[in-house]
Symmetry: C2
Subunit: 253 residues, 2 copies
Amino acid sequence: MKAIAVFPGKPNSMHLAELPKPTLDAVPGGRGVLVRLVRCGVDGTDKEINAAEYGQAPEGYDFLVTGHENFGQVEAVGPNVAGLQPGDYVVATVRRPGTSIYDRIGTYDMTTDDVYFEHGINRLHGFLTEYYADDPEYIVKVPRALRDVGVLVEPLSVPEKGILQAYEIQRRLRVWRPRKAAVLGAGTVGLFATMILRLRGLEVTTFGLIPKPYLNSDLVEALGARYLSTRTTSLREAATVYGPFDLMYEATG
Amino acid sequence: MKAIAVFPGKPNSMHLAELPKPTLDAVPGGRGVLVRLVRCGVDGTDKEINAAEYGQAPEGYDFLVTGHENFGQVEAVGPNVAGLQPGDYVVATVRRPGTSIYDRIGTYDMTTDDVYFEHGINRLHGFLTEYYADDPEYIVKVPRALRDVGVLVEPLSVPEKGILQAYEIQRRLRVWRPRKAAVLGAGTVGLFATMILRLRGLEVTTFGLIPKPYLNSDLVEALGARYLSTRTTSLREAATVYGPFDLMYEATG
């Protein structure tokens, strides 16, 4: 099968590679899930990997298949797989367990290991290819109704994590009930953060460079948030009028 | 009785003021505790208040008695005071409750009020005087054996709070067990932080400007910590050799 890969350490080495199609047996214990890729997002991380700023090939390979923003459909499952069946839409997680205590208790996104494993980024092939086979532990089922936007699940998980951690941190206050939030940046991540905070019931003010109206300011307003251009309103002025903000999400860069 | 006060807003206005000696009746419900000041520390905050950088007089006064690092001895107690008696050594808290939810649940050090109350700093007279009368709610008993260092209890509470909050924040990790800490600065607060972290069982590296040996480096080592001068070892070098640091306490300025 075809795959899009880089030679880590070599700038602008993105190329078409060839790999054998994986089989269910690649996963031990009859727990294999074979997934056909439907979509794969490409983002700044992929650009930086192609610029050879980081990225490492899996052991035994001189190339790394890129792509981590994945969305696929189950094609076959091993005999010991429950909860997933052919036809299901799925997203695979990107980071995989290492050896630290955080990895061992299932929070490998918090790993303290120096060496870590991320599909399409570090030591594991990515999803810019036709198929992958994996253990259900690392596969998230996406409702069929969301198939048009399922490829956004992985990037959405990034601001979801940040906002969840902010809430976890503020549990120290015992009675923290945030009411107003600011989101700095109205790109994809800023839009995600706006959406998450609106779903948590907050009044959200989202800041972008471009004066409204344009697509993303329309989307911010469709989410029930306020859009402000920093060209016309400074953060300080906005905080006086629409704040104080209990939570600020930084998504400018 | 005599008191040392400033005229808030007027630089270098520190002067000797006269106030009536407080009585137990100043506190309602028979809960008065009359305390004679034994010692009062003077720190950067007092210097800044004398420079008129902040500070506000209590309602009805044009001056503010300064001093918040207090240590005293109980002289008399009202009929409804339990747990304190004449002769006890005590420290009074500095911040007092306002109106926010944090004030109402007893964590007024976390107040979100714009207007707040701090003895010797904002809207309440301080302790650079001969006596105060207060409710036992705001009075901390200090063991007699600690009377020589009791005046350090209030400044010690500052790094105690910071380190406690760091631990509270990291509870989000569920299994956080810090082993190594760095303290930046070896002044009084840096020494306190070193001591607190050693008492929590951490390996501590404390950084100061001055090459050892001198008094504070000796004190750091007496606490079982490592002293390094940033003139001879950079933080980056030290982190490589003695880190990675799980917790860093900033006390440089």
